[in-house]
Symmetry: C2
Subunit: 352 residues, 2 copies
Amino acid sequence: MQQLTDLLTSHGLDALWVSKPENVRYLSGFSTPKDGLVLLHKDGVLLYTDARYTVQAEEECFVPQHIARDIDVIRHARTLLEGKVVGFEADALMVNKLRQLDGLHAAQLVPTEGLLEGIRLIKTPEEVQKIREAQRIADEAMRHVLPMLKAGVREVDLALQMELYMRSHGAEDRAFDITVASGYRSAMPHGTASEKVIQEGELVTFDWGARYQGYHSDTTRAFPVGEISEELKNLYRHTHQALQLALQAVRPGAMTSDIDQVARGYLAEQGLAEHFVHSLGHGVGLAIHEDPRLAKFSPERPQFNVPLQAGMVVTIEPGLYISGVGGVRLEELVLVTETGCEVLSHAPFAEV
Amino acid sequence: MQQLTDLLTSHGLDALWVSKPENVRYLSGFSTPKDGLVLLHKDGVLLYTDARYTVQAEEECFVPQHIARDIDVIRHARTLLEGKVVGFEADALMVNKLRQLDGLHAAQLVPTEGLLEGIRLIKTPEEVQKIREAQRIADEAMRHVLPMLKAGVREVDLALQMELYMRSHGAEDRAFDITVASGYRSAMPHGTASEKVIQEGELVTFDWGARYQGYHSDTTRAFPVGEISEELKNLYRHTHQALQLALQAVRPGAMTSDIDQVARGYLAEQGLAEHFVHSLGHGVGLAIHEDPRLAKFSPERPQFNVPLQAGMVVTIEPGLYISGVGGVRLEELVLVTETGCEVLSHAPFAEV
Ligand SMILES: [Mn+2]
Ligand SMILES: [Mn+2]
């Protein structure tokens, strides 16, 4: 709580109106945070949710709850916030909801961004443990489904088997819609599994993860079915090399854009940089995509370029996509340690 | 397109900046609408999405696409919108995204709510067909899982089997997190399936649905395991009767609050009204919860009370929840017809 009180003080706030689901869950333990709101103020934390969740909120929350909705939430909060300086999350509050906050009367509303995300950057040992468990379940799912990968199988059936495995082995859900992208579809960086039938000679990208007690895992692998072309093998090997080089560069103090550049620079040397169309990685925790972002340095967004710190959990995921040819992405989930990084993902790699 | 142009004209808009995922999908066909935006203007419709989706958008969209993100979207849109009156969706645009729209310069930004939702209220025959298909798959899933319902089984395993069935029989996803709530957990209106083991003598609520080509189904049933108490039987029978009475009242011209009152009034006569803690129903389509809302008349929100019209698809779902005792909810999905309604859901009911 001291850390939270300091956060308010250092931003000149008396309170923070928390609507971003990950932050609501972080502060309260409420597992249906889209239907909740948290009021963080100097004397404590309060969860608002509605009557559908009375019993559930009692069971789950480690902070007091108040059951109300819409206008009644505002009426209740007004008694605590009148005349106060109240921050809100500009990237997690709809324009019409901000207008409702005018009902807080004499409160002064201040847009904020990234306050709680800054605290969530560094994972506690308890949080790392939940991410490890999510990753462990996901790794097992890959081992379970790999023998089913062969020509004639539909992408969507493999995705479903992975998800079924994860959810029947402790995951509360898939971390995101699973990608199984084969052949020409592997040229789509986000090719959620389709009804396409996998063919001999194709490379198949899997991007999957589990959610365990709110925390996510995230990994990508690519496997050939039968013999694949030299061109695809080449893409695979260069992606794999870019991944290894970037992993070796991860350590506390390294700038996120520099890690991105290690992979991007290597691919540029191979004449492939134009096919690496996304950034290198992202933080993972209560959100599947969170800070820090490992991306190319952008003069328009210099704030995204930050030094890595021990306790961050991030992905490293170079990828190459060539329309009409195919694509490859390989992704590891890593914990930044005092001396470098620990790779948390242990799913097998193809031999290409 | 004429209907869309008229919508703009009647609201004094030159264009509408569409960020609500359901509306993005409705206007473009793009199946990952959270990562897209639509610009609706008088000469046409344009989808913006980023380079991850180039191939997918080409495959799916029935409108032109422009690949860009963040500031580049604004730069592109500016050439079309300079000096124009541009509506945005106040209930689907984050406060910080609204600030980005200032980059449109001389455009005049106008908050709107419910514009496209008004068009989506009445389903076309093609839309009804997709909802029917989603419901058909969901009904089959209930028949598939019912033989597995017995003491000793975990809620979460039944939910997983239902979802697996739906997704391996044509559904693109579950419509929402499936509720399986047994015994004391049935007193939670939104008791997503837990690891609780189902016991003899419990009543078990299932609330589930499928998503098919973007369209949802939504149904609730409750089944006893072995012999249940007279108190639970009583709750079940009164909920069932409230459902039947409300269904009989559904017809074009009936006010949504009056349908709610048919169920609520019956339950009040039984002395049970205080346990019916939510509204009677909601529209279903590209969103699982959409307009119209079938709710108690609220003087603060008189606009929610509207006449039903043929072509609307709505749920009727009375429920009773008593903490420490248990609960029941029963839900049908119905199409409002010229003369009354057609019940689209055909999952079996318990005999209680
Ligand atoms: Mn990732
Ligand atoms: Mn419903």
